[in-house]
């Protein structure tokens, strides 16, 4: 079971509250501290939805800019992190709808994505098998819808709980569970087909 990287219970809430209040008054240094604290997770959420590193970075920047503009609208009903992830997910989903495409890599895009995979020239058989699995998995993820891909990556990679995913994606918990089940089953089937093919 992946560790809950997003657990906020160990963080001093008073420190974050003070940073938010200072940022609301225009203190950009305070907002910079919040950016550094949550940048990795926000990028992860964006990456889970769009599954493209360059797009994820750009969308994550947009997320923080949007958050800065709307700091006054943040209420303490939810945690600041959840509020941020929700903005990131909405921006990423909107981006995908505008783009109107799945992550089907062709030509130069495909080459750049595969370049990021582990080096297959290693002599180690395990490394080769691992690289091969990664390629197959990346291909399988592309075949999922953005909604299913977002749910499974937010759960498996970012470690969000079902309630957090429900909050971020603005969908019921039951929907999160059903999408997760479908995504896992689908991936296993795709991987099996890719393995046999």
């Amino acid at each position: 079971m992946p560790s809950k990287l997003l657990s906020e219970s160990s963080r001093p809430e008073t420190d974050e509250t003070e940073l938010i209040q200072r940022a609301r008054r225009g203190d950009r240094k305070a907002f910079g501290a919040l950016v550094e604290r949550y940048q990795r997770r926000v990028v992860g959420v964006a990456l889970a939805v769009v599954h493209n590193q360059d797009d994820a970075l750009e969308l994550a920047q947009e997320t923080f800019v949007r958050a800065y503009e709307n700091l006054n609208k943040f209420e303490s009903r939810s945690s600041f992190s959840t509020w941020l992830y929700r903005i990131a997910a909405n921006i990423a989903i909107d981006f995908r709808r505008r783009e109107g495409r799945h992550v089907v890599l062709r030509g130069e895009d495909a080459e750049s994505e595969f370049d990021r995979l582990p080096d297959t020239r290693s002599d180690s058989f395990a490394e080769t098998a691992r690289a091969q699995l990664n390629r197959r998995l990346t291909e399988a993820l592309r075949q999922l819808t953005p909604e299913h891909r977002a749910v499974i990556l937010l759960r498996e990679v970012e470690g969000l709980s079902y309630d957090e995913i429900s909050d971020v994606l603005q969908c019921p918990r039951g929907t999160v569970m059903s999408r997760l089940h479908y995504a896992r089953t689908r991936l296993r089937t795709i991987l099996k087909d890719l393995g046999e093919g």
Partner: protein, 230 residues
């Protein structure tokens, strides 16, 4: 295996720890005794490991700085600006009030301190010109009557030092007399002034035998010496 089909639906939430406690217990007990469900659970866990392995996080170097650059370029939201203005206004108002209070306190302290010394200023001695001087000739008309002078000398305190009064000699020509020493006309009143001086001297000698009068030819003056009074 209807039970396995139901259990396999719960394997995902079971692995994620999202089931109710009694459901977690039921699934765990079944998985221990079912190879098929145990194998399916193992596949789920390996899928999770592979997904984490395959997901490459991009480099975040300079990310925060880029965000700050974008924010710096944009216009600060109205609400944030207003909060900033109000905060700055409150700070300046507080500083102004503090300065004003300090100034007022300083003024009050100054007034209190100075007011203690103001009455004392009225008692300071005023520098007055003594008409009787050992070196300055005295205008005859400014001299008091011989009786008054005698009275004044007699009424002086014993500790007062004898004063010598120089006055122009009665025989001194008009030219030797300092015109500034004479009041109320110079040319026309010189003869009259000389007569007045002789009269005064005679009266002094008659009234006060101790008074000595002599002429100083070198400076053409007449000295009237009044001794100390007991």
């Amino acid at each position: 295996m209807a039970l396995c089909d139901e259990i396999k639906l719960l394997l995902g939430p079971f692995d994620d720890g999202e089931l109710e406690p009694h459901e977690m217990e039921d699934v765990a007990l079944h998985v221990v005794g079912c190879d098929s469900c145990n194998s399916a659970l193992d596949d789920l866990r390996q899928l999770g490991v592979a997904l984490r392995d395959a997901t490459v996080m991009p480099s975040l170097t300079g990310f925060a700085a880029d965000v700050q650059t974008r924010i710096a370029k944009m216009r600060t939201p109205f609400g944030v600006r207003m909060r900033g203005y109000l905060s700055e206004f409150n700070q300046r108002l507080a500083a102004g009030i503090a300065i004003g209070a300090a100034t007022a306190a300083s003024a009050v302290v100054t007034l209190v301190v100075v007011s203690h010394f103001i009455p004392d200023l009225r008692h300071l001695p005023i520098a007055s010109s003594n008409p009787i001087s050992s070196s300055n000739p005295v205008a005859p008309s400014s001299l008091s009557q011989p009786e008054d002078l005698a009275r004044s000398t007699q009424s002086e305190q014993p500790q007062q030092v004898a004063r010598a009064v120089s006055m122009p000699s009665a025989a001194t020509p008009a030219s030797a007399v300092n015109s500034e020493d004479l009041t109320g006309g110079i040319d026309g009143g010189r003869t009259a002034a000389r007569n007045d001086v002789r009269t005064v001297i005679k009266r002094l000698e008659a009234d006060s035998p101790d008074v000595a009068v002599w002429d100083e030819p070198h400076d053409d003056t007449t000295v009237i010496w009044v001794p100390d009074q007991p």
